[in-house]
Amino acid sequence: MSKIVKAYGVHKHFGPLHVLKGVDLEVAERELVFVIGPSGSGKSTLLRCLNRLEQPSSGSIEIAGIDMLSPKTDINHARQHIGMVFQSFNLYPHMTALGNVMLALRKVAGMGRAEAERVAGAALERVGLGDRTHHRPAELSGGQQQRVAIARSIALEPKVMLFDEPTSALDPELVGSVLAVMRDLRESGMTMIVVSHEMSFAKNAADRVIFMDHGVIVEQGPPAAIFDAPAHERTKAFIGQIRQH
């Protein structure tokens, strides 16, 4: 299977902090990769380097054939094909759900109003919010907000979706609705990289689980192997900790 994400030797320094210490990551098309690890392990930074919200200090990143770190690359064009969902949703509070989804369709994809409205409506329908298109973020629950955020990304038909702890800010009873949307995406063949500790979701849906600690990938493998028979002590300790929650 061809690799849609190819990142090699990615380093990231924040001043004196060495957050990523040479990470190699390949993701195949249609693969769902889970990234787990303690806070400060560099997993979110890795995700943010992939679409260059953070500028890696060194290394190479290629996504869907585009060299993300080349100065010649139109980063705005490249980002259109890399969806990102954030822990804190980051919806635009002054716009309706529909407006949130339409903005990039109009400004980036260059659609007219009618077409953008149709595409945005379809995306909201897909995440189960067809009846909430004219609500503002403040009028939506956390789970609904996160689904609008997912709709905002998938409306642009990305080739890869990055999820940065998409359910961490949600009340437990709202997590399910977001995971259901992610499962639907997964079934439609979307390539996904997910930073999250939703273990049961990972077990059911992930093709591969990566455990990161101190800026390196400690080990990776199928979910069953990582969760039930981790090879490294650090992985064992971490899995034991998140199990208790």
């Binding site: 969806g83 635009y92 903005l103 403040a138």
Partner: protein
């Protein structure tokens, strides 16, 4: 003459008032014209400066911060006097209107820049990241996502500051600008009676009370609905 009659004759002398009413009306128009130009140019320039500052070009930002701090520190009266009496030595003699307009515009622009800038920086970083991650350019993100949120936060401090500075049009009287206070003072010297000043005060009230009321309405309307 009783004390009461004397008081009325001094401050509310109908004859004097009637005589100088046209002057005060004229002054009122000058004040309105001046105020409108100050508000438009001052807020416009302040917004442009804040947007330029958002680009994050270091040397440019130092220049902006220096200018802004300069005009926030100087008393407006000093700027008016400097421009009106100082510039002619440099070969340019601005009219009283122009000198007052320019001075107060610079002061309002400086304060407005700081207010807009505070609004822009108070918008959460996640808003930038979400917009940029969908491929929006810096400018598109600033205009479509950040600025609308920033403006909401700036409405209240901006209207207050605008009212305060616009009232400073009365300072134009020191350079013989024929605005309300200037017209009223010369009427007082000509009539040896302070009644025209009462007319002037009334003109300011008629002018600014509606502005204050509208400002209050704008503030409630734009109050952040979370």
């Amino acid at each position: 003459m009783t004390a009461w009659n004397k008081f009325l004759d001094t401050f509310f002398n109908a004859k004097v008032m009637a005589k100088y009413l046209p002057d005060i009306v004229y002054g009122t128009w000058v004040t309105i014209e001046l105020a409108v130009f100050i508000v438009l140019a001052g807020i416009g320039a302040g917004l442009v400066l804040a947007l330029i500052r958002a680009l994050g070009i270091r040397p440019l930002n130092w220049v902006i911060i220096f200018i802004v701090d300069l005009f926030r520190s100087l008393p407006p009266l000093v700027i008016i006097v400097l421009l009106y009496f100082g510039l002619p030595s440099a070969g340019w003699s601005p009219s009283a209107f122009l000198a007052t307009w320019l001075s107060l515009t610079l002061v309002l622009a400086a304060f407005a820049e700081e207010i807009f800038w505070a609004g822009i920086t108070s918008v959460h970083k996640g808003q930038w990241e979400a917009a940029r991650s969908t491929g929006l350019r810096f400018g598109q993100t600033l205009i479509s996502v950040v600025l609308p949120q920033a403006l909401r936060l700036t409405v209240a401090p901006l209207t207050n500051r605008t009212i305060a500075i616009t009232k400073g049009t009365a300072l134009g009287t020191v350079v013989a600008l024929h605005e309300i206070l200037g017209m009223a003072s010369s009427a007082v010297s000509n009539s040896y009676n302070p009644s025209p000043l009462m007319l002037g005060a009334a003109a300011y009230l008629i002018l600014f009370i509606p502005v204050v009321v509208v400002a209050r309405w704008i503030e409630t309307k734009f109050a952040w609905k979370k």
